[in-house]
């Protein structure tokens, strides 16, 4: 890892050197020369800093030192952002592996061990995200959004996550939301979850027994504005009075030995405070050693429009497990934005839906009349056609089949007027952008016309309703024969195959950065045999193309093909898992 990183850096330096040697310095003005000199000195200082003082504890000691020197502070933030990213890449593989493992038939002992790996790697990922987020916020990069969101379902999700963090401990998790707290508010939902998770996460860390309680009040409200007060109280180890002020400082924890016992970077509260301050709120801590801590923060919000459909937040289907229920559903999408359209088509296809997208109104009506469309997804605010108008035409169509097709509208904003209009026209349900995959799936499941009752995958596989993309097709029958019908062996091989594919993705991602086509060709070559074994001929051809393009030194072509691979492979893997599930049942 460190060797290839050094190589990576050296490669980039060599490239820089070439650029510099080609640069015409004669044309440089005095001012430009001054700027250039300044940034060169900064660069040299930062490089020297990393090369000569990168020993253990680098991050923390840098952080303290850097506060004295602005230049160093900038490079240090970049450094943090850089290493966080470098760590995330392999960590994602670890998490990916663990998830794959958990899908396999394991003994309960093995499951426990995989759970431990998952927990540990998720904790690590969280720490890294924390570090990364901190450097983003303090360098002003972090974006805050303003959208309508359902506070109550956010709180429910947060508490659910918190519940999963409590392992083997007798901690009671309590929530109290005052009646006057509005359901829909306008603000940044992800930042609020982050703050709450940070605080609740801290409580989970420091409470051995007793309870953790989240309370929410509306402190003040006027017109459509309100100030919400959140408090997280716990019966944890507490913080000494004199330490309370210092724990908001970056990279500090109340006691020097806190981190060894309870873990953490000491960044959680710093980030929390900075987020709250950026959102124009305030935070305070009240704590007594050995009896508990209460953290209270207040944030101003605009009360959101209650958009009339109660279904916007609903109990999510567990881990998107219901997705196979969507297989075979026929869905029409009216969405003018190409990117959004592509995204939604990709997702629906992944769930096994047949999708009609990018159709004109005339084409759409024709399809609605001739085939069995289960549901229409309608963007209300399309630049070229009005979603309300299109819906109206559908609802007033003379053909009963067309007329009765369920319509789910989606839009990035939604006013009361819109809500009334939707009801008048007869639009069945509504999704507020950005919606989660869960929301999308549950809304479609709830509203679609035909209920495809499918208990398992086998009936889908026997009667494929859609012709799947060539690069996502697999067939395990051949390999099962090679395994003399021994399903355990087949499971083992499929597991190995998935690992190889993950390794391939890791390798290519790393080597694409330095255009190291030789290594990519080698990785592709190795993966070919695997795709041949599972009879994924379409994907195998793609891999052969990648290998050939590497050998022909066509970087752009390699990148293009790899993009296709990244989109199609997850679908292929899902098909693989589905087929294996069926075989295991037999």
């Amino acid at each position: 890892m460190s060797i290839s990183k050094t190589k990576d850096l050296l490669g980039q330096l060599a490239q820089l050197e070439r650029t510099v040697s080609e640069f015409s310095f004669d044309e440089l003005s005095a001012d430009d020369a001054k700027i250039l000199k300044g940034s060169f000195n900064t660069f040299r200082a930062s490089l020297e800093n990393h090369i000569y003082k990168p020993k253990k504890g680098a991050v923390v000691s840098h952080a303290i030192k850097a506060s004295n020197d602005e230049n160093q502070e900038i490079s240090q933030k970049q450094f943090i952002a850089h290493i966080s990213h470098e760590i995330r890449t392999p960590l994602n593989s670890i998490i990916g592996f663990a998830n794959l493992l958990n899908d396999e038939k394991l003994t309960s002992g093995q499951h426990k061990k995989v759970d431990a790996i998952q927990f540990a790697s998720n904790t690590l990922l969280k720490l890294i995200n924390e570090v990364l987020d901190y450097s983003k916020i303090s360098s002003g990069v972090s974006n805050f959004e303003t959208v309508d969101f359902n506070l109550h379902s956010l709180l429910k999700d947060v508490m659910f996550l918190c519940e999963t963090l409590i392992v083997d401990r007798k901690i009671e998790l309590l929530v109290e939301i005052d009646d006057n707290v509005p359901k829909i508010i306008k603000g940044d939902p992800s930042k609020l979850s982050q703050v709450l998770l940070n605080l609740l996460g801290n409580s989970v860390k420091f409470v051995e027994q007793g309870f953790i309680k989240l309370e929410v009040f509306s402190k003040a409200s006027y017109d459509n504005h309100c100030v919400l007060e959140f408090s997280v109280a716990d019966t944890g180890i507490g913080i000494a009075k004199e330490k309370i002020d210092t724990i908001f400082k970056r990279y500090t924890q109340a006691e020097a030995n806190t981190s060894s016992k309870y873990g953490g970077t000491g960044l959680g509260l710093t980030i929390t405070k900075e987020i709250i301050e950026k959102l124009k709120g305030d935070i305070e801590i009240d704590s007594t050693i050995d009896s508990g801590t209460t953290v209270t923060f207040r944030l101003p919000y605009t009360i959101g429009k209650n958009i009339g459909f109660s279904k916007i937040s609903k109990k999510p289907y567990k881990n998107l497990k219901g997705q196979h229920l969507l297989a075979g559903a026929e869905i029409m999408v009216f969405e003018d934005n190409q990117m959004n359209s592509l995204l939604i088509v990709e997702q629906l296809t992944k769930w096994g839906c047949k999708v009609h997208a990018n159709v004109s109104l005339t084409e759409g009506l024709e399809i609605l009349g001739s085939s069995n469309v289960d549901l229409i997804l309608m963007d209300l605010k399309m630049p070229n056609q009005n979603g309300f108008e299109v819906s109206k035409i559908i609802r007033t169509h003379e053909n009963n089949k067309i007329k009765s097709t369920p319509i789910v509208a989606f839009s990035a904003d939604f006013t009361e007027k819109d809500s009334i209009e939707c009801k008048t026209i007869g639009i069945n349900d509504f999704l507020l952008k950005p919606y989660s995959l869960n929301d999308l799936m549950t809304t479609i499941l709830k509203n679609k016309k035909s209920k495809v009752e499918l208990e398992d995958f086998s009936s889908i596989l026997q009667k494929p309703m859609i012709k799947p993309k060539e690069t996502t097709v697999v067939d395990l029958n051949h390999l099962l024969k090679d395994c003399f019908g021994e399903i355990d062996m087949l499971n083992e091989l499929v597991k190995l195959f998935k690992l190889n594919a993950i390794e391939f993705i890791g390798n290519v991602t790393i080597h694409l950065k330095t255009d190291n086509l030789k290594e990519i060709a080698l990785s592709a070559h190795k993966l070919k045999a695997g795709f041949a074994m599972i009879k994924a001929d379409g994907m195998r051809k793609l891999i052969v193309d990648i290998e050939a393009s590497c050998k022909a030194n066509k970087v752009e072509k390699v990148k293009e093909l790899y993009e296709v691979f990244l989109i199609d492979y997850p679908v292929l893997e899902e098909n693989l898992t589905a087929e294996l599930t069926v075989m295991n049942k037999k």
Partner: protein, 121 residues
């Protein structure tokens, strides 16, 4: 007495399948994923047959044939696993003394037949 196969292949997936099939076929299998290890193993014990991929870390299948035939002076049968389009490598392998070759994607059943043929000779 069951025959011993040295399986040299760095592709875990293919190696697992072949290992499984060879064991089912009554062979004792020694598997190694890198050329260096293979050479070490061969210094101390000679299997009844060697099955080796051409592309391997540290020591290619071609080097391995040369090592077995010219340094260890052994006539142990060697079957080379080659990728399609590597005809030149296969010719070199035969010149150096390989006994047979099989092209990827490998059919385990075919490989077992080829192994049996070499071992029975």
């Amino acid at each position: 007495m069951s025959k011993t196969v040295l399986l040299a292949d760095d592709d875990q997936l293919l190696a697992s399948l072949l290992n499984f099939r060879l064991k089912k076929g009554g062979y004792v299998v020694h598997h190694s994923a890198n050329g260096k290890e293979v050479k070490e193993y061969l210094k101390n014990s000679m299997p009844d047959i060697i099955v080796s991929d051409i592309m391997m870390p540290y020591c290619s299948g071609i080097e391995l044939i040369d090592y077995v035939r010219n340094e260890l002076k052994s006539n142990t049968p060697i079957i080379i696993i080659s990728s399609a389009g590597n005809e030149q490598n296969v010719l070199t392998a035969f010149e150096l003394g390989a006994n047979d070759f099989i092209t990827k994607p490998v059919s385990p059943t075919e490989l077992l037949v080829r192994i049996a043929r070499e071992v029975e000779k």
